[in-house]
Every structure is written in structure tokens, then in C-alpha cells.
Symmetry: C2
Subunit: 169 residues, 2 copies
DNA sequence: TAAAATACGTCAGCTATGTTGACATATTTT
DNA sequence: AAAATATGTCAACATAGCTGACGTATTTTA
């Protein structure tokens, strides 16, 4: 039953050309994603904890910061969680004045979301930390690697959300 | 999207380094990671749900599958959760015979973890799905992009765990 | 214009997965 | 013999998902 694989899994670079994909290469990708995502969220998580917030609050703050005036249903579509789940964190953020919502006068059913100054400050703090991590990795890797990084990640994302990311720029 | 503020331009070296990192590029990276990780875990999550398992079970099954004979503390070190958290999922997996543990005869305090046939079957199913997603993205992106993808992700991972991924050319 | 659909919110309860802290047991190291 | 290590367990708690039911305001549609 035990396959006698290497316990520490030394992995090698995918070799060139006709892109022959070994199981090992694919496993490496999965582990890279696991470790990178774990470390990517680590520092924000500890900052948020000081505010009594969690990663769910971060997501809301991040996306509202990136898309000021987005509606609640826009946000639900991005996060892919239920409105009941969102409600819990959003209510907190509204109550503690990190986010404010204004009725859309063009469709008064809709509530448009904005960061308050407080929310903006927290967003800046969180994004700054993550930016530094990414920026360092980007600089060390170089422009070509960055392009490849983006290309592969886009390929992992479903067709619909992939359209959020244009290739040019 | 608002570009009225510019919280984090990496202050370091406006070098001959050709990599101009704009706030927008860094935000794109964060969003790519968010969406990719969300979609990467989506299909396994629904398979696991049919077994009454969650993502935590997947991690245990995955890493034990990749490192047969690893100890409980090895696993704790990778997952970075408390032993109490691990205990809950590990106990379930032992009880339902997806994992078995054998006492290490060289150090009888240690319990070495292995997948049972059942565990192996589930691991195969889950890994197969994720492999297909990654393989498609890899093939569409090409070998150079794949290399860049790995390089950047390695750069995001902390120094210690980064050593798991050696580029032995 | 009445009915249906949409956008949003809320109450209640459940599950999964993380946390601390305390304590126990077996085994190995000092 | 004492200390450190590896593992396990009990209890209590928090975060963040989920389903289902229901309510209200507003817009769209038949």
C-alpha cells in the first residue's frame, strides 16, 4: 500500500517543449497553490484579528475598495457565498462604519457599497502588506515569469470570471 | 475601478529592473489568486461533501497520499493547524478507514500515517479532478508560462516551506 | 394596474474548521 | 530519575459557511 514515494517530495521543473505533464508536476502545482495561498493570507489574517475581523471581512473590504459603488448582489456574485453569510460580515462592517451603503437612485432596490475613510485605511493597510509580498516575488521572478504566472492562473479560473482579467495593459 | 489612490508603490529601487509594479498589477495578482484558489477547490469540495468530508479532510488525504509514512507532527507542520483541529478530521478518517496509522518501531511514540485502499481511491479521485484543471491550464499556457507560474508561487511561499520545492534542473 | 420578479434583509438552526487551555499516557532523551 | 517529546482527549469557544422561511420595498411585466 505504501508507495515508497519520497517523504519530502523533491520536485523538478517541468521540462521544456511539448509540455509533457507528469503527475509529479501537477502535484507540485497543487502544493504550490496550497502553500502560497496559506502564506498569502497569513499576515492579513493576523491584522484583521486585531480588529475582531476575519478573512470574510477582508474579502468584502477588498472588493468594495476595488469596486466602489458595487451592489450587494455584485459582491455576492464574486464571493459566491449566500446572502445570509454575507449579511453577517457586512452588517458588522456597516455598524462599525468601515463600509457605508447608499441607495441607488436609478434603482432604489439596490444598495451601493463604499468604503468609509476608516474602511479605506484598513483596506490600505491590508493591501499594502499583501502588495509587498507579491511585489517581492514579482521582482525576484522577473517580468516573463510574472506574465506566465498570470496566464496560468487565468487558465485555472472559470470562463466567466476569467473575463474580469484582460490580457493587455 | 478607482485608481484615485496609490497606497503601495514599492519604494525600493527604481532600478534597471524592467519590472514596473503598478498598484493595478499587484491588485490583479491578488484577485487572480483569490479566484483561482476558489475555483481550484470547488470541485473537490463537492466530491468531499458526498462523503461527509470537507476541505480539511482533503488536505490530510492529499498530504498523506503524497508522503506515505509521515508522522502526525510532520502533518501538523505542513497544515499549520493545532493538533486538536487535526485530531477531529484525522480521527474520522481513521474510524472510517481512509487512513491507517502504524507505530514507528524506531520511535514508538510516533504514529506513521498511510492511506488505506479506500483512502487511496478517494485521493485518486480528488487529485484526478484537480490534475485535469491544472493540466488544461498548463497546456494552454505553455511551458515557459508554467515555469514562471512556479517561480512566482515559490516566491510567495515562506523560506522554510519553499525548500520543499527545489529546482533541481 | 395587478401580479410577478428582483434586491435586500433577517431570524433560526445547523455544520465545518479553526482557536485556547488543561490534562493524560507512552516513550525517548538527558 | 527527571525532563522532553509525540500523541491523544475533553471542554469551551469563534468564524464562516450552509438551508429554509419569511418580510418589505421596488421595479418589471403581463
Amino acid at each position: 500500500m505504501s508507495e515508497e514515494f519520497d517523504p519530502v517530495m523533491p520536485m523538478s521543473k517541468p521540462r521544456a517543449n511539448p509540455l509533457f505533464l507528469r503527475d509529479e508536476d501537477l502535484r507540485q502545482a497543487m502544493e504550490l497553490l496550497f502553500f502560497a495561498y496559506r502564506d498569502f493570507t497569513d499576515e492579513p489574517d493576523s491584522i484583521l484579528a486585531q480588529y475582531g475581523f476575519g478573512r470574510a471581512h477582508h474579502r468584502v473590504i477588498y472588493f468594495v475598495g476595488a469596486n466602489p459603488g458595487m451592489s450587494v448582489s455584485d459582491l455576492l456574485g464574486i464571493l459566491r457565498i449566500t446572502k445570509q453569510s454575507l449579511s453577517r460580515v457586512l452588517s458588522q462592517l456597516l455598524k462599525e462604519e468601515f463600509i457605508e451603503q447608499l441607495t441607488d437612485e436609478a434603482d432604489r432596490r439596490r444598495r451601493l457599497l463604499y468604503l468609509t475613510q476608516r474602511g479605506q485605511d484598513l483596506e490600505n493597510l491590508l493591501t499594502e502588506r499583501q502588495s509587498k509580498l507579491i511585489a517581492r516575488a514579482y521582482r525576484e521572478a522577473g517580468a516573463d515569469a510574472v506574465a506566465g504566472f498570470c496566464t496560468v492562473l487565468r487558465g485555472i479560473i472559470n470562463d466567466t470570471d476569467r473575463r474580469r482579467f484582460t490580457i493587455d495593459e
